[in-house]
């Protein structure tokens, strides 16, 4: 299993910006997720992020919320996600990062969760509601199990905290482009490039940007300012077509897989300078 930092430094050495597609596990079912992961992996985007559906995702906008609701409506369990990823992992080459609420990790048991995540083939974890300075042992447990715990930094993070977190980060830093929830936005925030420049000076690890990014044009604007770009809602929205409206008007799965693959391929091209 390739490490996150190895994958990202390979991209950097080729003057390329990695693309990090986000998919919700189990939306509309795990068979589809597995097929989508194979297609995405074939494009060699850099990293792939897999969302564990959660009932109360405070940081997510309507598109990702709805995908979590769809996945949970069919009684999706955490163990099924691990089994599914374990099944598809041998076909994949890109590092996988889990996006998972601490509510889930804690209830499952942090140690047990990390052990299962590692053996399923994850390389890292993003836990959006985990406080970096917390006394909870999650960080040390991640270190011990060889998983990168990816910190988030946002426009509201004070400078002294940015430095402190950056010095302790492993894998990469997830920079949240805007104060707000996930979801597509048309423009990029004015101060984004300046914030990224500052963060990259502070950070010994790569910096990837997410929240609100959905178009190749935005990737082109950002590519010289970061190491990777995370794209979620724009992909999840296309998966929603499999469940929205009435059955007779829905596209078939192959069509949706093709559409997402084409979209991600466009993003990857935009990330190549």
């Amino acid at each position: 299993m390739r490490s996150i930092s190895a994958a990202l430094s390979e991209f950097a050495s080729q003057q390329q910006t990695a693309i990090m597609p986000f998919v919700t596990a189990g939306d509309p079912d795990l068979a589809f997720t597995e097929e989508l992961l194979r297609r995405l992996d074939g494009l060699q985007p850099g990293l792939i992020e897999i969302g564990f559906p959660y009932s109360d995702p405070i940081a997510d906008g309507p598109v990702i919320q709805a995908s979590y609701t769809r996945a949970l409506a069919s009684q999706l369990r955490v163990d099924q996600i691990f089994e599914s990823i374990g099944r598809v992992r041998p076909d994949l080459t890109q590092p996988l990062v889990a996006m998972v609420s601490y509510a889930i990790v804690l209830r499952y048991g942090s140690e047990r969760f990390l052990e299962k995540a590692r053996s399923a083939g994850f390389s890292g974890l993003i836990v959006p509601d985990f406080l970096w300075e917390s006394e909870d042992p999650l960080r040390t447990l991640c270190l011990a199990s060889g998983l990168d715990l990816i910190p988030l930094i946002t426009p509201t993070t004070p400078p002294d905290r940015v430095s402190r977190i950056a010095q302790q980060a492993s894998g990469f830093i997830y920079y949240v482009s805007v104060a707000g929830v996930t979801g597509e936005r048309t423009g990029l925030p004015q101060d984004l490039q300046r914030n990224l420049a500052h963060l990259r000076r502070e950070s010994p690890v790569p910096v990837c940007v997410g929240f609100g990014i959905s178009q190749p044009g935005q990737v082109r604007e950002l590519r010289s300012h970061c190491d990777g770009v995370i794209v979620g809602s724009a992909i999840v929205k296309r998966i929603a077509a499999l469940s929205d409206g009435d059955a007779s008007t829905r596209p078939n799965r192959k069509l949706v897989l093709d559409e997402i693959a084409n979209f991600v391929a466009d993003l990857i091209r935009a990330g190549n300078s």
Partner: protein, 407 residues
Amino acid sequence: MPQILPKSSPLAAGPDSQGRYGPFGGKYVPETLNHALEELDAAYAAAAQDPDFQSRLNVLLRDLVGRPSPLYFAERLTNLAGGAQIWLKREDLNHTGAHKINNTLGQALLTLRMGKTRVIAETGAGQHGVASATACARLGLPCVVYMGAEDVRRQQPNVRAMRFLGTEVRPVETGSRTLRDAVNEAMRDWMASVKDTHYILGSAVGPHPFPKIVRDFQAIIGRESIEQSKQRFGRLPDCVIACVGGGSNAAGMFYPFVQTTDVPLIGVEAGGRGPVSGDHAAPLTFGQPGILHGSLSYVLQDDDGQTCDVHSASAGLDYPGVGPEHSYWKDSGRVAYTQCTDDDALQAVLTLARNEGILCALESAHAVHEAMQQAKQRSKDDIILVCLSGRGDKDAAEVQRLLGMNT
């Protein structure tokens, strides 16, 4: 004789520096909000030391809210139960009809102090929404209230009142369309608006420092109760009872007693239709420690950490979580927690109305029911003090519907 009034300022006491009550509490929120929580913590600590802030709040509590709220002897209810004396702490007589205003005035003043220019709030029963709308109208702040669409339906009078007061009510259509979903939406709003907006959380829940701030602003209930008990009885009550949704009226009532006395305290959760998961909203009775809405506390969730659906006839108790300090009090054994079913609460509304001429909130009726049970087991010399958290006008139509009464 135990010490009656806390020596230290009540605003100065609290959880540890991590916001923990034993293992419970803490801060589990997206990074975007962490800085605002630190700012709030600092602003609150400064306000607690500021006599101007305190006196401004006290004047509003006296002249706008009508504090102190009376202690009332429920004589016919006492005779009916046939045991200990039942006394009511009349938070229902507060302006806007519930304890919620104690907290919203405090937090609205904090909003101004922090230089923020907009307020958001969630509401279940609509009482916190009306109290937020009122505080914001008084202090000239624009206010948006998130309310589950199901609660918009069952608490219409409060929706109208909020709009009348100039507040924008946004119905929430996601999930179970109740209080939990309203909190989610308010938090999402705050994620994008945190620079100029304060979120007036309505119960003793959420990430640190909210549980402490809300408890402190509500602790006036318990402080007044101790003082009034001394005057009326020459001693403290033998038992104190409050209903527990998120736990703010109970925390406010209990906290001064917890700190300084050994008076038995009983919190009453929503037993709903019964003990099957999904039929009640009683995390302290049926739940386990877990994370919801930014803190670690007893919560109703499945083995994967997904929040369970809950039910209560009372919108203000229809919530799968509870404040972290209650979890601490439960585990430490300082407070006993029990529950009361929908049916018993509905009957208690009627019983109180027809014996005392007091139409109380469905939430508060949970505590009234438990008080009658306790009274039966105690001698006539015993004094039971109930926090009557709110009035029931908002529930009249729903109680009628649920009891199948003719209008």
